[in-house]
Symmetry: C2
Subunit: 240 residues, 2 copies
């Protein structure tokens, strides 16, 4: 392994570690938003809305690393796909943190009213969405195709939970029209959680492309242009 290759390996490991950190921060924000909603903690919800400077810093740092890697190391094949996946995944994680803010905002409005009903399905949906997110990030870090495919399969369950919450909340609104306002916020929160699941799905698809060179979006199953059977970073090809 020459110096350049070793440097690239080190840089890509650092990228992986930073994405893991960013993922954990995004999950933390989401958990904070949901826990604060369930425990009716206004102060903590406001803290989530205030944003997270660490998260922003890590995101800028990851983008910076990716551009530097692309410009200076000019990676190819799996390494190239890893760097591009990292750029996309960081964007998805930033959106997840934005969704935590959206949840906290709807949560704050919701808490201005007496409780609509015990919150059971929504925390369940949040748990599933966070599990998908966490597994998608682990799939990236470990380059684990099975884990990534598992994330894709869970999206239907999340969708089912969302539909159930929508129907139940509508029924509730019809029977208690005075409570329409807070109930609407519960529906909006379920939509935000659905989107967390969408981002986990995006990440899983990026991981599948990164590891296998196969594009599983649009059912196209197209191979990466630079994928010529090569699978592991430890056997770099000189070009494509």
């Amino acid at each position: 392994m020459n110096n350049d290759t070793r440097h690239l390996v080190v840089e890509i490991e650092r990228l992986r570690a930073d994405l893991l950190t960013m993922g954990r921060l995004a999950e933390e924000r989401l958990r904070e938003a949901m826990d604060s909603l369930v425990h009716r903690n206004l102060e903590a919800l406001r803290a989530v809305i205030g944003g997270d400077a660490r998260m922003d810093r890590v995101h800028v740092e990851i983008d910076h690393q990716c551009f530097t890697l692309l410009a200076l190391q000019q990676p190819v094949a799996t390494d190239l796909r890893t760097v591009v996946a990292a750029l996309k995944i960081a964007t998805d994680l930033e959106r997840v943190a934005d969704l935590a803010v959206n949840i906290a905002e709807a949560g704050l409005r919701y808490l201005h009213h007496p409780p609509v009903k015990p919150l059971i399905d929504l925390p369940r949906m949040a748990t599933l969405a966070m599990k998908m997110l966490s597994e998608a990030i682990d799939a990236f870090v470990r380059r684990d195709l099975g884990l990534a495919h598992g994330v894709l399969r869970q999206d239907d369950w999340l969708d089912g939970l969302k539909g159930q919450i929508f129907r139940e909340t509508l029924t509730f609104m019809l029977s208690e029209p005075r409570r329409i306002e807070p109930a609407t916020d519960l529906i909006l929160i379920s939509r935000h959680l659905e989107r967390v699941g969408d981002h986990a799905t995006n990440i899983a698809e990026d991981v599948i492309f990164m590891v296998s060179g196969r594009d599983v979006r649009h059912g196209s199953h197209r191979l990466a242009p630079e994928d010529t059977g090569e699978r592991r970073r430890s056997t770099p090809t000189p070009i494509v």
Copy 2:
């Protein structure tokens, strides 16, 4: 200009043209969804939900072009930022097309009921969201910083319209509880349109980074690592 440089220029022009095509297709789908909703055209809504093979094809093609460019041409500085921006923008446009499907789905549910009220603010919101999207794509194609900054400014108006629709629809639901179900779908459609605006904003931010090397997210204003005063593609630097 040597052969390699000329080849890169041609490839990047092609990328720009393809992104413009993808942008127009996304706008078309959105317009189709909103027009069909306003004119209560169930058949046309179902066609939107059916998806668009052209859109999928162009997206896969753009990703393919970007990876080939990165692997074979190893662009630096502005060119590198253009290719990475193209990858991100294509993802945003794909999500916009998904949102057109979400709008059509909510529209179909909505049309199962008698009209709630004349749809005025929602089409207005759609017009603004599509204008932002169209300007963001033009900003990418023309590398126009002013246009990109203009898109960022319009996001507040879109947010204002969304808030207005939310308040009006809640008031309506409180006075006409029997109509809660279709009214909820109007709120969801306004949220989908808000997200179209979010994607236009993302694209505008990518354009600003691409042209100026400045990261305007998170108020960080960090310069691109490879940005060393060089601004135009016609004066490539050998490395960074």
